[in-house]
Amino acid sequence: MSKFQFPESIASRPVYGTLEPRPGKAHLMIADAEGAEAILELASQDAALMAKTHIIYIPKGTDFSEKLRALKPAQFYEGPSYDASVQRIQKVLGDAHMGLQVYLAGTEGLMGQAMNEAVSAGIPASAIQTEHRGSVARRMQCVHCKGITEDVVTDPFVCSHCGLNLFVRDHYSRRLAAFQGVCIDAEDPGNVPEPVELYK
């Protein structure tokens, strides 16, 4: 699958790169769905990498697990969802030492949330590698009720918590791992444009 090229945007919007092997004796890779492809490409660049690597993978209905397992990482975990994997991620980071290299691949929601865990554990955001693959759906926070709506693919969208019609901003909070959604019809109640698919 080819990589999606996000349009240039404002300074708070994350910019994703391409994973590359870095020095270090321990490596943690967290990916979901098509993010597996980025890990497969990364592994192909350094034959010694996988023996030092812990992969945490959430397939989201894809079938990359066997290919990842075939890389023979030191540890491999397949989780049914990100939420189900969080405690494991926290434990791995809590036990880790300086020098750990973190690689994140897949959807923005997965990368944002996992980065938040790694930053809280003491790794600076700029030292964490990311590569976007797969869905361009966004994790959105409603600025009004603070509720998070996952996998938003249209603009505007309806807040899954308070029901307000929100427009999708590019303003992004690493701490919340979410973009900002703001009421679209505050100045003209009821005048809500037809939802349009993101990036169309």
């Binding site: 004796k25 809590g94 880790a96 300086m98 750990l100 003491g122 030292a127």
Partner: protein
């Protein structure tokens, strides 16, 4: 807005002080303690901060930066420790030979270019020689907030181990001293390996030691944000050269033993500065025209800036050539 336009003077705000103690610590290092001349308390400071000491050496004004090494919680004094440099430009010799208890001097307000990262889960300090001074203040600050720290301190000999005994006695489990003359070396690789996530390391000492810590940490996969260093460069002597300052509309001569910044100040040009050691970026000056070679010595500009010939840091860098015109 121009509510009350006041042009900022170069350098940090100043404090008039009286030398309250001169304490020789060993053959090379002496501590100087200051009280405020007006009897008031000093401003609080953050550990890692330095002050620029103004020395009246005859008709020459010397301005040297020194780390504040007193306890930041003690607002009654500021203290610095000065290593005598017999080959240096004379500032440390002036301090050692001329400064007596009761002398009036001027310090700047504290400026911090080497602050603790207060998010750190652990602070690991690496000191070499007189590089111990900022860590004295950092240790005092962290002790008050129950901070998690350890010190690894390399000295030439026990006799030159400034504050080594005092620190070892106060914190026997946290302070580790290594003496060159006993062939003891900081086991850097072992120390970098196994630190918990969120550890920050700080290094202050000779250039070689700073480079060693940065390079070793990078090779072990440490993010650069977790490795902090401070090195003040003393301006080096060099061939005299001539500079045209186009804003001030004067041409000045830079002598062999003065920096470009000092020459500007001597000629009455109010040029900005803070650290005078190539680290803070305040004195960055645009080059209007140059025919010759720059001798860049600062840590502020990146390689690209250095190669461009468009900028110079007059506190430590020099010029060899025919023409130099600066936007100052």
């Amino acid at each position: 807005m121009s509510a009350a336009p006041q042009k900022a003077k170069a350098g940090a705000e100043k404090i008039a002080v009286t030398v309250s103690a001169v304490v020789p610590l060993n053959d090379l290092v002496t501590r100087f303690e200051f009280k405020r001349t007006d009897g008031a308390e000093f401003p609080p400071f953050s550990a890692g901060a330095h002050t620029v000491v103004e020395m009246q050496d005859g008709d020459r004004t010397r301005l040297n930066p020194y780390s504040l090494m007193s306890d930041p919680a003690d607002r009654s004094i500021y203290a610095i420790s000065v290593r005598r440099d017999d080959q240096g430009r004379g500032g440390s010799l002036f301090m050692h030979q001329k400064v007596k208890v009761g002398d009036a001097m001027t310090l700047t307000y504290p400026v911090n270019l080497f602050s603790l990262d207060l998010r750190a889960k652990k602070h690991v300090f690496f000191a070499g020689g007189i590089g111990i001074t900022p860590f004295k203040a950092m240790i005092a600050q962290l002790e008050q907030s129950n901070g998690n720290w350890e010190l690894h301190y390399a000295c030439r000999t026990p006799a030159l181990g400034t504050y080594a005994d005092e620190l070892t006695n106060a914190y026997p489990n946290k302070v580790h001293v290594y003496y060159d003359d006993q062939n003891q070396v900081i086991p850097l690789e072992d120390l970098l390996d196994g630190q918990p996530l969120g550890t920050h390391v700080y290094v202050c000492g000779p250039t070689g030691m700073i480079d060693w810590v940065h390079a070793t940490a990078a090779a072990h996969g440490w993010p650069s944000e977790n490795v902090h260093s401070e090195e003040f460069l003393a301006p080096q002597p060099g061939k005299p050269f001539e500079v045209r300052l186009c804003q001030s509309d004067i041409t000045i001569q830079v002598g062999e033993h003065e920096s470009l910044l000092e020459a500007m100040e001597r000629c009455g040009v109010d040029a900005p500065f803070l650290c005078r050691g190539g680290a803070c970026g305040q004195c960055e000056t645009d080059v209007v025209e140059a025919e010759g070679d720059f001798v860049h010595r600062d840590h502020w500009l990146d390689d690209e800036d250095h190669a461009s010939g468009k900028k110079i840091m007059p506190c430590v860098s020099r010029f060899v050539g025919k023409t130099l015109v600066l936007d100052r």
